[in-house]
Each structure stands twice: as C-alpha cells, then as structure tokens.
Symmetry: C2
C-alpha cells in the first residue's frame, strides 16, 4: 500500500516551523506496513492545497494531511478536499455536535467561526478529536482514502493512533521490533547486519543522537518463534551496543533499572554540565532515584563538592582517568547514593591539546562492585561531543549495574 503525506501552512513554508508531523506520520505508517512515497507541503491558498491533493491521490491510495482545519479564513483543507473529490461542502451535524459538546465542557460559547469547523465535504466520515476543537475527517474517492487531522502535534498523534491506524485495513498488521543501541554509528551497524539472515524482516534505522534504533518490521503472518530467532540473531551480532529491545530510551532505561533495583544515583558533570542529569530528570519519577547532582567546571569546585585531591588534579589534569574516578567516588560518598557517575572532558571548540584533543572524555562509575572507567575521543561539534559523552555515561552505568 502506497501513501502520501501532506502538511499545510504558511508557517512551514517560511521556515518558521519544522514539519515534525510528517516524519512522525511516516514512521507510524511504516510501522503499520504502509510505504510513504512522497511528502508535500502547501501554503494556505486553496489552489495550492488542491494541487497537493491531486498529486498525492495520483501517486498513492492513502493520503494523510495535517493542518488547515482551524476556524479562520486561512484554514481551507476541507474545501480543497471537496474540490478534489468533486463534492459540495455541507455543515456536518455530527461534527457540529462534537464541537458544541467540546465548548460546553470548556465552559465557552460557540461562535460562527467555530461552527465553520463543521463545514466539511459531503459524505465525509468524522474522526473525533477529544483533545482540541477541530474534528478530523476521512473522504473516500476513487481508489484513494484521504485522512485530514489538525496540525497540533499532540492532537494529530492521538487521532492517528485512535482513528487512522485501525482504518489502514492491513489484514494482518505487521509486528515491529525496536532494538536500541548506543555507541556504534548507523553505517557500521548496517555493515554488521549485511550478512545476518533477517528472515522476512524489513530493516530500518532511526538515528537520534546519541542513540541509533534498529527497526525490524515483520509481516503479520510471521511466526512468533521466527521473529524471536531473528531478533536474537541481531542482538547477538550487535551485543556490545544493544541496551534494550522494545524499551525506552537510554535515560528511561536507566531510571527504570534504578527504580527496579531500589538504587539511587548521583552525577558529577564537568564537560556535559548538567545535560546528563537533565536527561534523567526528563523521565517522570526520576526524583525517586536522583536525589542530587553537581556541575563542577573548575578545579576548586571539584575539590569543594567532591573532595577530589589537589595532588591528583595537579599530577594528571582535570581531564584524566584518576580525576574522573575521584569525582565518581566523591559523588557517591557525598550523596550516599548507590552509584556515583562522573564526566570530565573537553567539549571544544577551544581547550584541546596534542595529548588531550577536543572531544577527549573520561567517564567513571563508582558502585557496590567497584569502579568502572571509560576513555573516549569523540568527534563532532561541541553539542555532539556533549550529547555523546552524556549517552556514554548512562550506557556505562547500565553496564556497571549488569556486571
């Protein structure tokens, strides 16, 4: 099944907004076994939106369109669909009832502009929007089904899952397995998987610094034991880098792992300066496993807050294995946490030397089973060095816990 994605809105065409909706929809369609063949963005002019629908329908049997369902005069998606399908517009009673109920619940009165959101192509099937005011709709014309949903990401995502995914009419929906890896570039992972027998699986990747997700899509009639065999084969080859299968991201994995074992962690960050801590805190409930953390850029701060010895700093410099280890131990002792994690490095663009170039990072994890250390020279911009270092610290903590 071939699909096209349309986004509408002048704010996309001026570069004001990055179109993340289309990527999210493409990923969801792929997951459901539907291949997207093109994406288009049109402005608010009726003629331009009509063009997008005509082109999309010529090239696919499913079209998902976001945006242009609001109450103002530049919201013209419904009119464009009506023109494409050759049907008149009419005020849809079901849509109107939903709008009125929604406003009543919010304690607001419905004005005529709001009611125009119920003006839809004749024969449209309503897709209820429980999270905002504009209902979505579906129109079937020729061999093509068009789904229109609002451009507000949270409404769009919930409506896709609730209304569009079940209507994709894939008789046996595919099974998707997401294998999360850290520490190996996507191109290298692809090389390593070249000779692996993936059975009937379709291979995909999704890189999101600092991790790379491997997506294996199995057709719906694939036997569970065959799926498990392929997944275990892939995990076997990539063992060093896989940190979970069908689980959360690195920070979520760390928080749930610590929660399960009843452990706590204290971080001491230099080059990453709070980024690693902030990633953990993004996870709801993180405060149960993370009681405190420190950012220690200066040597004085490392001494004051973590009891790093002046001699160690003088002998090895702040970016060194001994200092990273004393930082991790200091973090653990100072906080009473089960685990102390430290990062010290040179994020750049300045500050590098011949022996310690920009990107040099030392990471240490201190815990019940002793101390773990990792040294790396990370290539990339300041932001990339910091993100990859933060990811490496979380991955090292997971490995230390598993030891």
């Amino acid at each position: 099944m071939r699909a096209a994605i349309i986004s509408t809105g002048e704010e996309v065409l001026t570069g004001e907004t990055i179109d993340t909706n289309s990527a999210w929809i493409a990923d969801s369609l792929w997951t459901h076994g539907v291949d997207v063949r093109c994406m288009m963005t049109a402005g608010d002019a009726l003629e331009e939106i009509c063009w997008a629908f005509e082109q999309a329908a010529m090239r696919s049997s499913i079209v998902v369109c976001t945006g242009g369902l609001g109450p103002t005069s530049d919201d013209r998606t419904a009119e464009a669909v009506a023109a494409w399908a050759g049907v008149p517009m009419e005020r849809n009673a079901e849509a109107l009832a939903q709008i009125e109920q929604r406003y009543a619940r919010w304690g607001r009165t419905v004005n005529e502009a709001n009611r125009t959101q119920a003006d839809l192509p004749k024969g449209a099937v309503i897709l209820e929007n429980s999270w905002g005011s504009a209902p979505g709709f579906m129109v079937h014309h020729g061999d093509c089904r068009v789904f229109c949903v609002p451009g507000v990401p949270i409404e769009m995502r919930k409506m896709f899952d609730q209304h569009i995914a079940p209507k994709l009419a894939v008789t046996a929906p595919p099974v998707l397995v997401r294998i999360r890896t850290f520490g190996c570039p996507e191109s290298r992972l692809a090389e390593l998987l070249e000779d692996v027998d993936l059975g009937g699986a379709t291979l995909g990747f999704r890189a999101h610094i600092p991790e790379v997700q491997i997506k294996l899509r199995f057709e719906g009639d694939e036997e569970t034991q065959d799926i498990e065999m392929v997944v275990s084969r892939v995990c076997g080859v990539l063992e060093r880098w896989v940190y979970n299968v069908d689980g959360g991201d690195l920070a979520e994995t760390v928080v749930s792992s610590l929660t399960e074992s009843g452990d706590t962690v204290c971080l001491a960050e230099s080059c990453t300066a709070g980024m690693t801590t902030s990633w953990l805190a993004d996870v709801p409930g993180a405060s149960a496993v993370l009681e405190r953390a420190v950012v220690v850029y200066s040597n004085q701060a490392k001494q004051d807050l973590l009891s790093v010895s002046e001699d160690t700093l003088a002998a090895h410099g702040a970016v060194s294995e001994p200092v990273a280890k004393e930082m991790a131990e200091g973090a653990r002792t100072m906080s009473g946490a089960t685990w102390g994690v430290s990062l010290t490095g040179i994020a750049g663009p300045g500050g590098g030397t011949d022996t310690k170039p920009v990107g040099t990072v030392h990471i240490a994890v201190s815990g019940p089973s002793g101390i773990h250390h990792q040294h790396a020279v990370i290539l990339g911009s300041r932001a990339q060095v910091r993100k990859r270092a933060a990811g490496a610290a979380l991955a090292l903590l997971l490995r230390a816990k598993a030891d």
Copy 2:
C-alpha cells in the same frame, strides 16, 4: 520570486530523519526576500525525483534540492535534473578536479564510485563543496534555476550561504531584523503588533521554546532611519518581553552579558535539574562565567549543599518563595559567584496539589543589588514546564543585571 524546495531520500519517507534542511532553506530564502510556495520530498527512485522537479519547476522560478549527490547507486538527483532539463549526463571536469583535490587533501585514493559524483547534467554550473566530497551544481532551464546541494546539513548550509544566496539575484537584498522575546506567547505578540505601523516591513515569527523570535523583513531600498524607527516602535510595544535585537539566544545573551561585566553565576536547580546549567554550557566559553552548579531534588540536598534551613522547608514546603530565595542565596554564598540563580517547582505529571498545581515554579536571583523573585504557573507537558522555567530563570537574571 517564487521558490520550491525538494528533499530526497528514503530515510525521510520512512520517518527515520526529520527534514530540518527544508525549514532552514525556507527561512534563509524568506530572509532573502524569496517566497517558498511548496516543499516536496521524494524517495530514491529516478521517476519520483523527476516528478518532484517537474512539479517544482512548473510552480516556481527557483528550486533548491538537497540530497542524492552521494557516490552510491541510490543517489540519482543529477540524473533526474538532466531528464527534466532534457540534456545528457557528462563527466564534469571541474567537479572531478575538485573531488580529486579533496581526496588528495584527506590522503585518500579516489575510486570509480567517487568519480561518479562528477557525472552531472551537461552545462551544469559547479557549486564547490569545501566541506565534503560531493560538489553541488546549478542548472538553468526555461525560466527556472535549479540548485542541488548535498543533504548533510552542515555542508548544505555553508554551500547555500556561499553559492546560492549570492545568486538569488535580488538587486537590493532585503534587511532582516530579528527581535528576540521571552515570556509572551506568539499569538499575543501578534495581537499586540496588529495596530503598530510597521512601515514597509513584512512580519514573521519563529517560535522555539522557550523563546519567540519576531522577524522584520525590510526591502533593500528602505532607509536605515526608517528601519530603526520601526524596530524601536516594536520594541517599545513589546518592551517587557524583548531581550535583544539581532543577538543570540537567551543562553548566549546571558553568557555574553556576564562575560562583559566580568561576573560569574552559580545555579541551584530543582525541577529543571541541570537543564538551565546545560543551556549555558552549550555556549562556547561558558566555563569562564559558570564555575559550578548544583541539582537539589531532595530537601536534604537543599540543606547540605545550599544551607537552606530546615525550618523554612517545613514551614513553606520546597516549592515556595522563601525556599527559592534561600537556594539562590545559598548558591551565591557557597560558590562565591556574583549571581546565584535558583529554580524550584513541580514539573509534573504527578506531584501537584490544589494550592500548588503542576507547573508551579518559584525562581529567585540573588546578586549585588539584592534578591529578585518570580512565581509562575506554567501550562504544558513536563518537558515544556521545565524548558519554560529554565528560560524564565535566565530572563530574570538578565532583568536583575539590568536593574
């Protein structure tokens, strides 16, 4: 002048990659006075890329295309352009020389796959790529000029600025003024500017949580004094929220302001847990103004690291004005920094009460002129609450410094 943007690549159609290139190009074209009328994404199939060029050229006089210039068999942008322009492909001597020079400089040998990157439509004008291996090119056909550049963002951006922008042939390039604001939603800013006389300026917005940028585009023949008058009118109306004109983001503004005055800062974060510190550390040179910071989720950590009194915590709770103030003072005293900044709040989704709902945040800034405090209830997800709170802390520091 009307433009279209094309991105190519299966990784965009599967949702693996979010197409940030098109938004960046759209913003740059808008800045140069060129209006983008459509964006399209095509896969790697020749027929699909040809379709995108045909459609783009029918609707605009400038087409910018990213991706598909690599050395592998799925890189077919050049062939598609040749098919569209009705010219043969040929090995371009200038492009080949550039590729060979680049590889020689890297100390690598050029193989036949690399040489195919010089196979371009006959008559193409080469756009040198000083940052990667694939040269870009321009083809003029009919009333339309097509620019093709690699999809690697850093190469694309540099090549756009160096080769495409100067060729946009706008006789008097427009002047763009960016006014950066914090704390007021975009819809409200738009309302406030409705009655302001913007002269000949075209108004645009760019929202990037937690800030909103106001873009004023003046045609190239606009007098400097008229531009200044409009900018000062806008800044006058939005005074409370504007934090700079044509400058960096909030974190960059804070770091440069502290650097200029020779000040330092120490942060004490609870709900934001290192995010604010990490934003400052994103700015190269931040270590000169930021010596240390602490994340203090628990009451015990607030007492141990910041000397917040147990009585204050017991009497008012951790999320309160008195605790925020003691945290800011504690941060300043503990570190010896010029400024102490604190945040304490309820990021959600759990932890809210009737009197302190999710989103409640107390921020304090302690400095040479005394102590400043701000209380807010921020609506949104956990991530949004944390980002807006971090932004508010930086904005409060700037206001305290200006006092």
